[in-house]
Subunit: 336 residues, 2 copies
DNA sequence: CTGAAAGCGCTAACAG
DNA sequence: CTGTTAGCGCTTTCAG
């Protein structure tokens, strides 16, 4: 940088200004610097800038998995949203593993970032609130967190209610739910479960334990497995509600293996509106849970927190928020 | 760090050694440092370490898209492979946009990384070879590059040949190919095209231009569109080979919309063996193109280059390699 | 609009 | 096995 400054006949500070988009600079000064930069093929050392400025211009996104359509699409949306703020994103995959998630929390991964968007799976809320996180953090995802950190989620209960209601309105009365869990911890699963149960109750439909399948892994294999268990139970059913699209798609596959046609023999409903859902055969009816909204909101919130932190605000200056969208929408395709 | 050193009664260097896993240290020294670290809740400043050491411990993965199953799975594999080397990965999404890809090349994204794994889409080989990249780089993906950089790819030609051959062996003679391109640039598309044509030629089957559909976008929508064009042409066909799984899956969807059953009315073949392929209905027969192998190999190669560069080796010391696997395998499921 | 000086917090020799 | 001494290449005051 000193070389560039010398070549352009200005001081280092001026070159620094140039790179940081400082507005008040004589055009000829700017031009001389520009020339010097290309002649010397100068590239700023970002590490030095990071050290000096105390910022890195990157945030971390820590999620359980990337090869899962939902997370892939979420990550894509986060990267796009971050780009709008000139932020890079480091992707960390936790595998939903407790140890790994703890490492994320106490920053022992040897990365330096300005902020963290974290979707924990294995960690308890207490783990998270007792962690000594040193960067601004916003939580997303399955587990419901009302603690020290901002939490962005979708209205799972209302979405699942709408989905179930849709099935009921179509005349189905024996609606199997794939993704149930005994675990009472406040998760997306639990909320979707509540939405399902509420819709049933409102319609005066009984809850048949044989139709509530779970726990199961929330991927296609899990959905396929769920259908197998459902069939094994011998219970009659005329519709299946998979608590996410992967489950529903896996269910669709397995139903067909057993000669059951969708939607003729059994109606099928998913949740999330992942890209796959649009192109399955038949097209999966599902609920758009507002994945992009989550990504955008999480990034915007994080940026807010980051600038507050940079401005030297105390951590408790602005209390943590807990936002969730109600902007889900039912996406009608062929299966229900 | 000075504080920790003082509290532990050692010098900064010793603390530094502690953090960098220096082996020769008296247990009690180590213990004292450890204690001081927790008491002070000390966290090393990674930016400072980066500046000082000239390394950042992160690599960048630049791909056209993340919400696409193939790339999502590739990214996942890269992250896993990088973890083995204690490397973090920054994901940059280019949208296959030329400007964006150029930004990646000349590092003007304001990120500092030790290496780059780059899957360009829009850039010509000449763009890439004339770029002034300053970090070790390995190229992956669609375009075939034989230039200044290492290039990792799969044996598209052989894979497509095997796929087509499989269809022919099953008795199909009018095999439509979805993903053709007039563009003669050496791409994965072109290679798969060659494999297809060679298999046809070897079997003495004619090439009907009405059956070679393209160019089209390599996603599900493109596949659906391809089928529409195929149908519109009025040409008879008994099998469809989608040049990737997304195309094939989109084709499957569209075929069904038109009342054509797979595989009864028409056989279907994909390429890549993306997770979706296993769970579609019916399960998609496809070719595993060795995606994980690409990720692992690219990372390993990059690490090699990085340490060579760190060791002060000249850029041309070890000439660029061009590796591709022949380890594809045909994955038989239900569609062909 | 520009310049000078003082660090940011760590690692890298090299000597002990 | 440990300590000393220099920087790494920027940004940041604070003047001008």
């Amino acid at each position: 940088m000193a070389d560039v400054a010398a070549r352009a006949g200005v001081s280092k500070k001026t070159v620094s200004n140039y790179f940081n988009g400082y507005r008040y600079m004589r055009p000829d000064t700017r031009a001389r610097i520009e020339a010097a930069v290309v002649e010397l093929n100068y590239k700023m050392n970002i590490s030095a800038r990071n050290l000096s400025s105390g910022r890195t211009g990157t945030i971390s996104l820590a999620i359980p998995e990337l090869a899962h359509p939902y997370f892939a699409e979420l990550a894509q949306a986060v990267v796009s949203a971050a780009q709008l703020h000139d932020l890079n994103v480091l992707v960390e995959v936790t595998d939903g593993d407790r140890e790994h998630e703890l490492e994320i929390l106490n920053g022992s991964r040897g990365r330096s970032v300005d902020g963290l968007i974290f979707g924990p799976l294995a960690l308890e809320p207490s783990d998270i609130d007792s962690a000594r996180i040193d960067v601004p953090t916003v939580l997303i995802g399955d587990r419901v967190h009302r603690g020290r950190f901002d939490f962005v989620s979708v209205d799972n209960e209302a979405g699942a209610h709408a989905a179930t209601r849709h099935l009921i309105d179509a005349g189905h009365t024996r609606i199997a739910a794939l993704g149930f869990d005994e675990d009472l911890s406040p998760t997306a699963a639990a909320q979707r479960q509540h939405g399902y149960l509420r819709a049933l109750a409102e319609a005066g439909l009984p809850v048949d334990p044989a139709l509530t399948i779970g726990p199961l892994v929330w991927n296609r294999a899990g959905g396929a497995d769920g259908v197998r268990r459902l069939l094994a139970s011998g219970a009659a059913f005329d519709a299946v509600f998979g608590f996410n699209d992967a489950i529903a798609l896996g269910a669709m596959s397995e139903l067909s293996h057993h000669g059951l046609r969708v939607p003729d023999d059994v109606a099928l409903m998913g949740f999330d509106d992942v890209q796959d859902a649009a192109y399955s055969v038949p097209g999966l009816t599902t609920v758009d849970s507002g994945r992009d909204w989550v990504a955008r909101t999480a990034v915007d919130l994080l940026v807010l927190r980051m600038s507050a932190a940079a401005g030297g605000a105390a951590a408790d200056e602005a209390p943590p928020v807990d936002v969730h969208t109600a902007a889900f929408s039912l996406v009608r395709r062929s299966t229900a």
